[in-house]
Amino acid sequence: MDVRIVFLILSISCIALSILSLAYGSTGLEDPLYILSMSSSIALLRVLRTLTAILSGIMLALAGSLMQYSTRNYLADPFLLGLPNGALLAILLALLIFPYVPKSTLIIVAFIGASIAYVLTSTIASIAGMSVASLVLAGIAVSTFFSSASHIVLYLWISKKLGHAYILLLGSFAYTTKSDVETIAIVATLCVSLSFLLWKRLNALALGDDYCHQLGYDPRTTRLLAVTFAAIATSTVVAFVGVVSFLGLLAPNIARMLVGDEARKHLSVSALCGIALSLAADLFVRVISHASTLGELPVSIPMSLIGAPMLAYLVVTSRCRT
């Protein structure tokens, strides 16, 4: 498909979804311009929520893309490789010891957790031969381990003040405050700009380690940089929004289908897909809350509903390819 058409369609759908996200909420429809005038009490909620969804969408999509470049594996989603669950466990433990730690500090804690999870996953996978399947299987092992450890922590210390942690376990765009969004925006800007600066290296890496050397880039440094940015992006989202499943798998793969994997095209389309997907998932949650008395559902529910079939599709196609 022509790149320009892809961009046009994606941009229009992102803008439309943003407008819808401002206009529609669990309390019904409002004029988006009225919301933007900030004169109603739910305006701040809607604007913050929309911004959070957009920023997390971008970050998770880019994290997914970077992971896929560095592992050269279509299934390398930060969620599948256990990064968010590692980050979550680290946050939970930090909150248990220091209950009033500021949320921005949690990013660093989450980053440590995510890094440990990634190192574990990639070590296990490389021992197993670093095939497409072994990376994902190792990721599932690590991810399950960390998530059950998180559940044990939550279960044992349920009486402690772990409200924030509970929200993180489920993942929701509704709970970020203004200062949170500011912090996410700073990290997101850094992540986006730095990962776009890597485009030549990523292109070289996509061709294989030997080509990468020939083109004058050290594949190991490139990989380290890409994984670090991905881990920072993932842990920021986990620290403020929580575990959002499958977005890092969906966005890069849709981008690959649409524009291929030339880094500049791929990263920008992936980011746009991320925005559209997270806004759509959040809108789904709000429709449920508006139409029923169920209240806020975790955003991972709609994400997994689309993500899991996508994973199945990718597994099937990757088997056909080999």
């Binding site: 961009f7 409200g163 509704a174 746009l272 809350s289 209240g295």
Partner: protein, 398 residues
């Protein structure tokens, strides 16, 4: 993967797109920053009410006859009474300190036991929002139907936007529910005060009374609170007195929190139900454990309960029969005394709600339990939400 020649030689347009995304993010956040600084956001401001009452007392015409001359002495007293409502400071169940300059007038309750408490204190007319589980007093259900009270999501998942849209002065939440605790910063950002009650975390009478007093303090409803507390305490004392008078022995009780088909969930010590059993003259067979626990059939048989109580939602006579039949399928259960004597009860509807929601109906549910455990003293419980194995005509294992 594409060919080498295609890589890195695409038009510059794509780089521009990346920059546009970044600018869009910065623009969005910048807009948020600028617009909210313009103070157009509706924040709820409270003003100190200070009424000044000026009383002028004129004590006039103090006549004293000393001589024939009449001395007119005028004493003028001026009293200025300044009535200043002092802000009320409370400490909630999470140990947070909250100050109220005015009595809150718009209340949102996030748990059924809290709704019940507010209505019991006569503050029902101020309630603007409740969770979807709130169904007592029955008027709540009608008010929700009429649209006079809004539903702000379920007890487990309250919706921030629905709460904020109601513009409440106060949100009363449960300290025992993580999703309620998580709401704190988000609601405070919107200028809404949150107070956490022990609510569903309440373990005994003192916790319930602490909740009543906390609410009474905020709403200056101390008189109603005293009446309510006295009523509850005397109700519980009556049960205790009757048990003492008859020298009642403690009955071994097992409470199953769901139909046996969903797993054998029961309660250890440190819960409201455990407290109620003790008040009603019983002994929880699992009081050596702590909190909500899942147990095995072996545990139950070895502890040999004399009464088994099963709580379940939306049960009728047919399903109650089925639930008891499921219980009787548990291997070895026929050895248990409760089964031999047919003392198995299924509690549903209001009876179930009262048992699982620590609140103002604590004396009422304690009496119900006392009737189940000691019918010889208090008489059989004749309620249509309590099904007994005897009255269902079930052939109990012989």
């Amino acid at each position: 993967m594409g060919t080498l020649s295609r890589r890195g030689v695409e038009s510059k347009v794509l780089l521009v797109v990346a920059i546009v995304i970044i600018i869009a993010i910065l623009g969005g956040v910048g807009y948020l920053y600028v617009s909210s600084r313009g103070a157009t956001v509706t924040t709820i401001t409270t003003t100190v009410t200070s009424t000044s009452v000026t009383t002028k007392t004129v004590t006039a015409l103090k006549t004293s006859v000393v001589t024939k001359t009449k001395v007119l002495e005028t004493v003028r007293t001026k009293t200025v009474t300044k009535v200043l409502q002092r802000p009320i400071k409370v400490i909630d169940a999470l140990g947070r300190s909250i100050e109220f300059k005015n009595v809150p007038k718009r209340i949102v309750c996030l748990a059924p036991s809290i709704t019940e408490l507010i209505f019991a204190l006569g503050l029902g007319k101020y309630v603007v929002g409740v969770d979807s589980f709130s169904n007592y007093p029955p008027i709540v259900v009608n008010l929700v139907k009429n649209g006079r009270i809004a539903v702000v999501g379920s007890y487990w998942n309250p919706d921030v936007e629905k709460i904020v849209a109601l513009k409440p002065d106060i949100v009363l939440a449960s300290a025992g529910v993580s999703s309620h605790v998580a709401l704190e910063s988000k609601l405070e950002e919107n200028g809404i005060k949150v107070v956490y009650l022990r609510a569903d975390k309440a373990r005994d009478l003192s916790d319930i009374i602490a909740d009543i007093q906390l609410v009474a303090q905020i709403f200056r409803a101390e008189d109603n609170a005293t009446k309510l507390v006295n009523k509850i305490v005397s109700g519980i004392q009556n049960i205790d007195n009757a048990l003492r008078r008859h020298n009642a022995t403690k009955v071994r009780v097992l409470v199953l929190l769901s139909p046996p088909a969903y797993g054998l969930w029961t309660t250890g010590s440190g819960t409201f139900i455990n407290y109620l059993i003790a008040v009603a003259g019983g002994k929880n067979v699992f009081s050596d454990k702590y909190g909500w626990i899942k147990v095995s059939p072996e545990d139950i048989v070895s502890r040999n309960p004399q009464v088994i109580i099963i709580t379940a939602m939306g049960v009728n006579a047919t399903t109650a029969k089925q639930i008891i039949k499921d219980l009787l399928k548990i291997p070895g259960i026929s050895e248990v005394e409760a089964v031999k004597k047919g003392r198995i009860y299924v509690l549903t509807g209001e009876a179930d709600d009262m048992l699982t929601r620590p609140g103002p109906r604590v004396a009422k549910v304690a009496l119900l339990l006392a009737k189940i455990l000691h019918p010889e003293i208090f008489g059989e419980p004749h309620r249509d939400d309590v099904y007994s194995a005897k009255y269902l005509g079930l052939a109990v294992a012989t």
